[in-house]
């Protein structure tokens, strides 16, 4: 691996993190709890989602430990069901959905468009409070005895056949949904109305485009989930019978409503991650993203098509064969924009000047794992093979490749990439490269065997399984421990870097986004004066000219 680097740090003997920045502007708990500053709210989000990630991760660890042996021995079956339900709910609604948008998006979008803050700062704070209320409700549910519906809340199981805390969980997700609606709304308004002079739509960084697409999905999709959960709660409390066949209701209707949100939700989760990858790949190859327009529009295409593929979760549930046909075709169409993005990123490297800092390593990891995750999605989108592969570990492996291999890699890539901007200090490079490689190896060892298990027919959500599946499960559990190390390391060294990291300066990566044109950490107002966008996005030649001028003028 080349040792060349693009990092250019200020002279460490004289450099200081600026005294006046958004972190030091005010002190005290209240200054954080009542803040309107998007960067502070993003910081609150970062701490809270990390907390939930480790709860969800611990639950994942329990699942893998239980599956080490074919019998249900470590956990009782009931407990196992509660553990995987909570793992799913926490990871999806409290980590993946808010991960990139609410942290990196919140932190970056105003700076990227050259604004002082999001359009609606108080709504932004409200959305964090809603998230926390929802989180407390979810934790209450867990302490009070848990819930075992699975994160999919399948009726009539969730409405008539379980005695666990379905209502408090449903309401928690209902509240969390509003948090994500508000975040999406805020982004849409900001991107439309708060762009600085010269910032046209096609000068926006691709990160903004992909978050814009995800915001549309949040605003249009989440209300459907909210209604569905309210119907579940009403069904349980007063028995309105919308989903109850005994009262003339239809349990399949629940599936339609639930997946109408939950399929677009996977794009809510992955699109912002794709935005991170665009920024990182461009910066570390010193090149404009190959086919900027195609990548931007493919995000929008994913958002639009994403709304019309929900029934591909129901191919074996007795929807009509012709409905299955239509939804399968649309699913194939939505796979194309993802393929376009992968190739565009790969060709961004072409004739670039590439370096391999940690964010880039995570981005490479993303490209490999997301390709596998996307391709196996086609296995499930084709109606015939879906019959055999759905509801098995194949589907578990597929969405973990997309969500963990894709989204989590992108999230970590982004956290490392913007860490110097956020804190003013660099993370330690060597150990973080080691963590990135560990994560990649651990991930593959954990989830690749699950594709084979799925092909063999091992059903998902099984606390015990036939003994011939054990060897592959042991591989998977072994991988999970490696993966766990890979996720713990960043927590440790990033915390360390808060005090001991090298001072980063304004633009350690020589990147072109507006967020790099201000001090790190930024001022509360982001920029000393509202910037003017006088160049295209990812214009590295402009940046070089700019730097030469500075040198000349000094």
């Amino acid at each position: 691996m080349s040792t060349a680097t693009i990092v250019s740090l200020p002279d460490q003997s004289t450099a200081r993190v600026p005294k006046m920045n958004f972190l030091t502007r005010e002190n005290g708990l209240l200054s954080w709890l009542l803040t309107g500053d998007h960067k502070r709210i993003a910081t609150l989000y970062l701490i809270s989602i990390t907390f939930f990630f480790f709860i969800g991760g611990a639950l994942a660890g329990l699942i893998r430990l239980e599956l080490l042996t074919p019998q249900s021995d470590l956990l009782a079956m009931d407990t196992y069901n509660k553990v995987f339900t909570m793992h799913g709910i926490i990871m999806i609604f409290f980590f993946l959905v808010p991960s990139v948008p609410a942290t990196l998006g919140n932190f970056l979008i105003p700076m990227m468009v050259g604004a002082k803050d999001l359009a609606l700062p108080k709504i932004n704070l409200l959305s964090w409070y809603l998230y926390m209320i929802a989180g407390v409700m979810a934790i209450y549910t867990m302490i009070a005895g848990g819930v075992d519906t699975g994160w999919t809340f399948t009726t009539p199981l969730s409405t008539h056949y379980l005695n666990t805390h379905v209502i408090s969980t449903g309401l928690a997700i209902f509240v969390a949904g509003f948090s994500s609606i508000f975040t999406g709304l805020n982004f849409i308004v900001t991107i439309h109305k708060m762009r600085c002079p010269g910032m046209t739509w096609f000068r926006l960084p691709l990160f903004v485009w992909s978050n814009y697409a995800a915001s549309i999905l949040m605003v249009l999709g989440t209300p459907v989930l909210a209604i569905t959960l309210v119907l579940i709660v009403l069904e349980r409390t007063v028995g309105i019978g919308v989903f109850d066949p005994a009262k003339g209701g239809d349990p399949l209707l629940f599936q339609h409503l639930f997946w109408f949100y939950s399929h677009p939700a996977v794009y809510i989760m992955i699109l912002p991650g794709m935005g991170v990858i665009s920024e990182v790949v461009s910066t570390f190859s010193r090149k404009r993203v190959f086919g900027y327009t195609a990548v931007a529009f493919s995000s929008v295409a994913i958002a639009v098509f994403g709304f019309f593929v929900w029934a591909h979760h129901m191919f074996i549930m007795g929807i009509s064969n012709y409905a299955a046909l239509v939804f399968s075709l649309l699913t194939m169409l939505v796979a194309v924009p993802s393929a376009i993005k992968i190739f565009n990123w790969a060709f961004t490297l072409y004739k670039g000047s590439i370096t391999f800092e940690t964010p880039m390593l995570y981005a490479f990891g993303f490209m490999g794992l997301f390709t596998i995750g996307g391709m196996t999605g086609v296995f499930l989108g084709a109606t015939g093979t879906d019959i055999h592969l759905t509801e098995t570990y194949f589907i578990v492996a597929h969405f973990h490749f997309v969500m963990v291999g894709g989204m989590l890699m992108a999230f970590l890539s982004g956290i490392h990439f913007w860490w110097p901007k956020w804190t003013g200090r660099m993370y330690p490079e060597k150990i973080s490269q080691f963590a990135a490689v560990t994560t990649f190896i651990g991930f593959n060892l954990t989830f690749f065997p699950q594709f084979i298990l799925g092909m063999l027919g091992m059903p998902r959500r099984y606390a015990s399984y036939p003994p011939e599946f054990q060897v592959l499960n042991v591989f998977s559990t072994a991988g999970a421990t490696v993966l766990g190390v890979g996720y713990l390391l960043p927590i440790l060294y990033l915390t360390w870097s808060l005090k001991y990291g090298a001072v980063a300066g304004d633009n350690p990566w020589q990147a072109t986004g507006l967020e790099w044109m201000t001090q790190s950490p930024p001022l509360t107002e982001n920029f000393p004066q509202i910037p003017v966008m006088d160049h295209e996005a990812y214009d590295y030649e402009w940046l070089e000219r700019q730097q030469q001028q500075e040198v000349a003028s000094v």
């Binding site: 199981l157 349990p251 000047s353 015939g384 093979t385 092909m455």
Partner: protein, 357 residues
């Protein structure tokens, strides 16, 4: 390997070299499904290799030491069109191929032997037309198309036989169906794959594929005495269905003989085909399914008959080709003195003279 204990080594070697990587192919559809699967694996591998090769070779050719200055390139419509159209074409091939298989799996042939499966927390109850009952087991003959008609009496379940590559959800309130033709005698896994509550992972069993001869022996050895249709006939009488559905001139309900498979017009004007699903909803939700020309007086049997009972009735009506026995039963019941429990001998002269087909 003398630094590992030989016993442990032998154990590891045995264990690590004895696990399946591919499920058995035991049905007619399995090799067809696997062909598509391997085609997809191939395309994925080629796609992944291309991506890895691109990233690797560009990383080597254009890393900063070797290529210190990037050349700015806007994009290339031709290249972008290539990687839009080729994946699209491949995905469309997979779509068509997959859809062909899907229609095959979910369109049972007319000559398929029908077996009913009722899912409940947490077991599979199998009802053979000959009256054989099984729990968590399914015996089927080799080389005969078998259609499963599935229903759940509580929550969603999913009937999955990985060795056959077929799976179908059992849903409360409606019949679903799937079919297969087993090709290799043996015992295979049967799983419930839709999460259904506490003991979901215990809702498993075996599918036993037998040679036709063994199957005949098994059928003869496991019969409970009455066929499904015979059970249905008894229910038909004990629920007094025959009081109206008897095809006498003043019958208040429509004639049921030979109704299965025909098309009828409902009072709403809608034309429907009489199949298992229609019969089921006509029994449980009669007011929504009144035949044209009849008065909606039939009470609902929702909650009064188990799913197995409905299956027996459906199986009975399916094979009903004359009203003779219905009228016989009816007349003997009417002739019975109310104090007497014993049915009168069938073929009562007075009654049979009056009733004609």
């Amino acid at each position: 390997m003398n630094y590992i204990s030989p016993v442990l080594w032998q154990f590891l070697q045995h264990w690590m070299s004895n696990f399946p990587l591919f499920p058995p192919e035991a049905s007619k559809i399995a090799p067809q499904m696997d062909a598509l699967f391997f085609f997809m694996v191939l395309v994925s591998l080629v796609g992944l290799t291309i991506v890895i090769l691109l990233v690797l070779s560009f990383s080597i050719l254009y890393n900063k030491t070797r290529h210190p200055h990037a050349t700015q390139i806007e994009g290339s419509t031709l290249l972008e069109a290539t990687w839009t159209i080729i994946p699209l074409g491949l995905f469309l091939i997979m779509f068509v191929w997959g859809a062909l298989l899907y229609f095959r799996v979910y369109t049972p042939p007319a000559n398929a032997m029908n077996i009913y499966v009722v899912g409940k927390q947490w077991m599979w109850k199998v009802e053979h037309p000959g009256g054989q009952h099984e729990i968590n087991e399914l015996h089927v003959p080799e080389g005969v198309p078998v259609q499963l008609t599935l229903i759940s009496q509580d929550v969603f379940h999913s009937f999955s036989i990985p060795a056959f590559r077929v799976k179908r959800e059992a849903i409360p309130g409606r019949y679903t169906s799937v079919w297969f033709e087993a090709t290799r005698p043996g015992t295979y896994h049967l799983f419930c794959t839709q999460y259904c509550g506490t003991n979901h992972s215990q809702m498993i069993g075996h599918v036993v594929v037998m040679t036709p001869d063994d199957y005949k022996k098994w059928l003869a050895g496991s019969t409970s005495g009455n066929s499904l249709a015979q059970n249905g006939e008894r229910l038909f009488a004990s629920l007094s269905c025959n009081a109206c559905h008897n095809n006498t001139p003043d019958a208040r309900g429509p004639n049921l003989a030979n109704v299965y498979g025909s098309s009828i017009t409902l009072s709403s004007g809608e034309r429907v085909r009489v199949d298992d699903a229609f019969l089921r909803s006509a029994i449980l939700d009669p007011s929504e399914n009144v035949k044209q020309g009849f008065v909606p007086i039939m009470p609902t049997y929702q909650g009064q008959i188990s799913e197995e009972g409905v299956i027996s009735l459906v199986e009975y009506i399916k094979h009903l080709d004359s009203n003779y026995r219905i009228q016989q039963t009816l007349n003997t019941t009417q002739l019975l003195p109310s104090s007497e429990g014993q049915p009168a001998p069938s073929g009562n002269a007075a009654a049979s003279g009056e009733v004609k087909q």
